[in-house]
């Protein structure tokens, strides 16, 4: 039962928690006078410990549920937002295509002709510094240049 050497049995009588530390103390120490010490409760109260544990476990579980719920919600949000982003990208692309088609000469050219504009056939420049007209200006006449347009 007990692995202590026989010579130390005297110490076993000491009802002190520190007894273990005193085991193996060299015999050479002077003997102290024996005195009464207040007894130590040999067992801590169980209830608070269990409560703490349960609380921790409970909190952990709740945390876990919260995190996983949040993650789930975020996943849904992510899916929703990425689909929204895709949708917007698609819309942007379609609008961009419309813009590049509308500003392409194939749309602008015929429109300009329809409004009665005529491509210039005589390049003329106005020099802003001295107001000089460079070139020989000639009025552009309708139906002299482009009469019909292939689309």
């Amino acid at each position: 039962m007990n692995a202590q050497p026989r010579g130390t049995t005297a110490h076993r009588a000491i009802p002190h928690r520190a007894g273990a530390r005193l085991r193996g103390t060299p015999k050479a120490q002077p003997r102290r006078a024996l005195r009464l010490v207040a007894p130590v409760a040999n067992r801590a109260r169980r209830t608070p410990f269990v409560v703490v544990l349960l609380t921790l476990i409970g909190l952990g579980l709740i945390g876990l549920i919260l995190i996983s719920t949040a993650m789930q919600a975020q996943t849904f949000q992510l899916a929703r937002l990425s689909s929204q982003a895709r949708d917007l990208q698609t819309t942007q692309e379609s609008l961009q295509r419309d813009v590049s088609e509308l500003k392409s000469p194939r749309t602008l050219g015929p429109k300009a002709l329809w409004y009665g504009m005529v491509p210039s056939q005589t390049p003329v420049y106005l020099r802003l510094s001295d107001g000089q007209v460079i070139g020989s200006p000639k009025p552009a006449e309708a139906r002299t240049n482009l009469e019909q347009v292939i689309r």
């Binding site: 000469p105 070139g135 240049n145």
Partner: protein, 596 residues
């Protein structure tokens, strides 16, 4: 005691069982981890991971002002699982037809939604599990279709699949130059083919872990191999000028009842092609509008005989050898007979006394033949080679023809008749870019540049790379070039020139008309009464910036370059000068004596 022994034996037995089990486990573990490691790892990767490719968008083709000529957009192929769609095919087809209109055929769509295959084992037809319903829809259109299908509860089994789509905002704009792609987005013609490697990006890949049911495991490993989008190609084309030239050459073709027409404008100093038009053309945005003859890029793919335009090159060769000047007197005979062939001018005349400038201004074949006799055929040939005839131009477009320039010597060499006709551009075949490059060299002081259609690239990271200019070389001396330029300035003269319509008010214009006999491609013989007419010219003649070349094939009978091609030249050149802000130099064209 016996009880204790029994218990010990039990204990030992259990121990042995445990050891045995552990040995088996350890063995298996060793087998899995050390021996068959690769196979198992691969198996786990195969079943436990999913790979999704990320499509790399194809690069854009832009004009010189960064306006898009060809772009990539997100597209969808609408596919179906006929096992699911079969029962409700009419309903689904109706929704598709409502959404897409004429893009699909109602009955053909029903057939696709009910696609079947023949099961050989069961010896009966079964519904297929995959079928294409509509291909290449823009993503927004596909979205509308799917939204409409979602409203119908029974319409299940229709699946959109992501594809890259090519979009050409300009439609017919520069269609022959830009070219098009096939269903797999690979270039098939024009710039799309020539720059296919650069335009094509590198597809990426996402790899993520999935459960055995194929559901993505959240927070698990995901690796992404980044896709690299294609490089944008910035062409040298000016979109607005291109549109105008497209229209103008189409009008020219219509007016002269020609088979086809070409209009090309090049920046003389850099070799940049700023406009390359062709009529008839085709609509890049309409995949059904692709006839073989309209799709070819005639500027590089069409070989033809250039005719009188080549007289400028003959004169440049003579001037370079110091054998001719604008005022050199030439006695032009009534006609020349070489072997059994008779060569004449396009107008009837007696013996004429023309100067060299007069020969060019009036486009006299006989005068050119007489002048060209001053050089040997070998020397004539080497000048033509030096001007780049019979060789590729280096423009880098696919399908280029190098034309035909036969060697002067040998059994198939130039006969006396060839030598005479090549001087005025018959018996030699060329492509249009060769002509514009050669005459461009005369405009550029005798230095020939390499024509190009690409200004630079815009890399995926936004950096711009400028394409270095191609090699240049001197074809003739500066003096020779200047002599020929002065001669060419007499062509647009109202008194005696062949193309007064080419005059641009305020500018000095140098040019040359061309009327070539047309070769029937089937028989290889000239067809009487059929011509290829042309006009090439540059401006301002004393400080050249642009050169424009107009070709009209098989116009109405007796049409000449001066009446048909020169007006088109005038309009396109005026527009080019104005758009690029090229000011008139203020000087007047010299009036040289045309006869003596």
């Amino acid at each position: 005691m016996t009880q204790q022994r029994l218990s010990r034996r039990r204990l030992r037995f259990c121990l042995y069982v445990f050891i045995a089990v552990f040995v088996v486990f350890a063995g298996r573990l060793f087998q899995i981890q050390a021996l068959d490691m690769g196979a198992y790892a691969a198996e786990s990767v195969r079943t436990g991971t999913a790979r999704v490719p990320i499509l790399a968008p194809r690069g854009k083709i832009l004009d010189r002002n960064n306006q898009p000529l060809a772009t990539s957009i997100d597209g969808r192929d609408i596919t179906a699982d006929p096992k699911l769609t079969g029962p409700n095919a009419p309903q689904i087809a109706k929704i598709l037809r409502d959404q897409l209109g004429d893009k699909i055929d109602y009955f053909a769509t029903i057939d696709r939604l009910r696609k079947q295959y023949y099961d050989r084992q069961a010896k009966q037809y079964r519904p297929a599990r995959f079928a294409y319903v509509v291909k290449n829809l823009p993503a927004w259109q596909a979205r509308n279709v799917m939204d409409a299908l979602d409203k119908c509860k029974e319409c299940v089994g229709v699946i959109p699949m992501k594809v890259g789509l090519r979009n050409y905002p300009g439609g017919r704009l520069a269609a022959n130059l830009i070219g098009f792609v096939d269903a797999a987005n690979r270039g098939q013609s024009g710039m799309e083919l020539a720059f296919d490697k650069r335009l094509t990006g590198t597809a990426g890949k996402t790899t993520f872990e999935v459960s055995p049911l194929g559901v993505r495991i959240p927070m698990a490993d995901t690796t992404v191999k980044k896709m690299v989008p294609g490089t944008d190609v910035i062409s040298t084309i000016d979109g607005d000028l291109q549109w105008y030239a497209d229209q103008r050459i189409a009008a020219g073709v219509r007016k002269s009842s020609s088979d086809w027409g070409l209009a090309i404008t090049m920046d003389i100093r850099t070799g940049q092609i700023i406009q390359m038009s062709q009529a008839p053309s085709f609509d890049l945005d309409d995949p059904n509008d692709r006839s073989m003859t309209d799709v070819m890029n005639r500027s590089v793919e069409q070989a033809y005989e250039p005719g009188s335009v080549l007289k400028t090159v003959t004169m440049a060769a003579l001037a370079d050898q110091g054998k001719i000047r604008p005022e050199t007197p030439i006695v032009v005979p009534k006609q020349v007979k070489v072997n059994e062939y008779r060569i004449g001018d396009y107008w009837q005349h007696g013996v004429l006394h023309l100067t060299a400038a007069g020969v060019i201004a009036k486009s006299s074949n006989l005068g050119t033949v007489v002048a060209a006799r001053q050089m040997t055929k070998r020397s004539h040939w080497s000048y033509l080679r030096s001007f780049g005839f019979g060789q590729y131009t280096g423009i880098g477009l696919a399908g280029e023809t190098h034309g035909i320039l036969r060697s002067p010597d040998g059994p198939r060499g130039w006969a006396a008749a060839n030598r005479a006709t090549i001087a005025f551009g018959q018996g030699i075949s060329v492509n249009a870019i060769q002509v514009i490059r050669a005459v461009g060299a005369i405009a550029n002081g005798g230095v020939e540049v390499t024509p190009t259609i690409v200004e630079g690239y815009r890399l995926p990271d936004g950096r711009r790379v400028v394409v270095p200019r191609g090699p240049t070389h001197r074809a003739v001396s500066r003096e020779a070039a200047s002599i020929v330029t002065r001669m060419m300035e007499q062509v647009p003269r109202s008194d005696g020139g062949t193309a007064p319509a080419a005059q641009i008010a305020g500018y000095r214009v140098a040019g040359k008309t061309g009327t070539a006999w047309r070769v029937n491609p089937v028989t290889g013989r000239y067809v009487r009464g059929q011509n290829t007419v042309s006009f090439i010219g540059f401006a301002p003649a004393d400080k050249p910036r642009f050169i424009t070349y107009i070709v009209l094939d098989k116009p109405y009978r007796n049409a000449g370059g001066g009446l048909t091609a020169a007006p088109v030249f005038h309009d396109i050149m005026s527009m080019a000068l104005e758009r690029f802000g090229v000011l008139p130099t203020g000087s007047k064209s010299p009036k040289l004596d045309l006869d003596w």
